[in-house]
């Protein structure tokens, strides 16, 4: 059995994205890391992960798209969980893409085309 990692220091939540989409989270006590429109978000994301202070890092879909290589890198780590969220311009459906990738990895092919989310 593997040693349990100590996550007691990783108790924050961070949000990474364009300021307009994420400014509100500051009001809830989340760490907000704004990315300028022309800035490459990958180094910022790397910094955040390397600091090991955040258990969850939410990134806007635009950032997720720009950092795909980095995201794959941390996929096998238990924490932090890096989760794409829609930005202020609305959801582009990128969120389910990472899920699809995971399913394709696990099953061998994409079965979400036929499996629809449960009706509410």
């Amino acid at each position: 059995m593997r040693e349990k990692t100590d996550y007691s220091e990783m108790n924050g939540i961070a949000v990474l994205g364009d300021l307009g989409s994420i400014i509100g989270f500051r009001g809830l006590g989340l760490t907000v890391v704004p990315i300028a429109p022309e800035e490459d978000p990958a180094p910022r994301l790397k910094e955040l992960v390397a600091a090991r202070r955040h258990a969850v890092i939410y990134i806007t879909e635009a950032v997720a798209r720009a950092c795909e290589a980095e995201l794959a890198l941390w996929q096998e780590e238990v924490l932090p969980a890096i989760i794409p969220i829609p930005s202020a311009t609305g959801a582009t459906g990128y969120g389910t893409t990472s899920l699809r990738t995971a399913v394709r990895r696990a099953v061998g092919f994409d079965i979400l085309d036929t499996v629809k989310p449960p009706e509410k």
């Binding site: 924050g12 009001g27 006590g29 924490l79 969980a81 990895r105």
Partner: protein, 234 residues
């Protein structure tokens, strides 16, 4: 399928048979693990899809409210108001296991958020009601977001482990087990062949010995016959 290059003897045969048994047992176990994990995995994927929908919807609502707030407030005022914000929100992280895969569990102190509901953590003088609505919307989205983070991370981790297990099962099923079976078959064929070799050799040797014995007897007989006929003639 390639047959392993091993010397065809009884020791190797025993060793390989044992190895095959272990491989079969491992294959069965891994297959069970894969099936169990796949069941949990698909449940979790459904859950993640549901949560993703919920989060998208709640965030869209909150974003709308925030857009409204931004339209009535100077960006600086809004930014400053947010900077004064609440004490950092803390998550409690623990680790649990699904089929021996370590997965995170995230909890936030909901009461901390509830408290904030009463006391908005920024200057009410400089902000308007729209900001309150926007923050409230985000607050509603947060539990679902956290749950989504947990479930999605779990899905990712399970996917990695499932892929690994699937590959192991396949390589055992399609490479290792057939290879072992064929090698065992080849060794038993070779040993049978050796057995027959040996048998024919023995038969041949026996034939030679018998032939020699016959020759000797004939020689003796003919010598004996010669002696008696010579004696009669004398």
């Amino acid at each position: 399928m390639a047959v392993r290059r091993v010397s065809p003897n009884r020791m190797e045969l025993l060793r390989l048979k044992h190895e095959l048994e272990v491989a079969r047992r491992g294959h069965r176990l891994l297959k069970d693990k894969r099936d169990g994990m796949m069941r949990r995995f698909l449940e979790l994927v459904q859950e993640a899809l549901r949560l993703r929908q919920l989060v998208d919807q709640r965030l869209a609502e909150a974003t709308e409210a925030m857009a409204l707030a931004r339209s009535v407030l100077w960006p600086e005022v809004l930014g400053n108001a947010m900077r004064l914000a609440a004490r950092p929100l803390e998550v409690q992280v623990s680790e649990s296991a699904i089929m021996a895969v370590a997965v995170p569990q995230l909890r936030i102190d909901m009461t901390a958020i509830q408290d904030q509901r009463q006391t908005f953590p920024y200057g009410l003088a400089s902000t308007t009601g729209e900001v309150d609505v926007a923050i409230d919307g985000l607050r509603k989205a947060l539990p679902a977001m956290l749950e989504l983070a947990e479930v999605e991370k779990t899905v990712q981790l399970l996917a990695v482990e499932l892929e690994r297990t699937r590959r192991r099962v396949n390589s055992l099923e399609h490479v290792m087990i057939p290879e072992l079976e064929e090698t065992i078959h080849a060794i038993s064929l070779k040993m049978d062949e050796n057995e027959r070799d040996n048998l024919t050799r023995l038969m041949k040797v026996k034939d030679m010995i018998v032939a020699e014995a016959i020759m000797k007897r004939r020689e003796r007989d003919s010598r004996f016959a010669g002696e008696t006929s010579a004696g009669r003639g004398a």
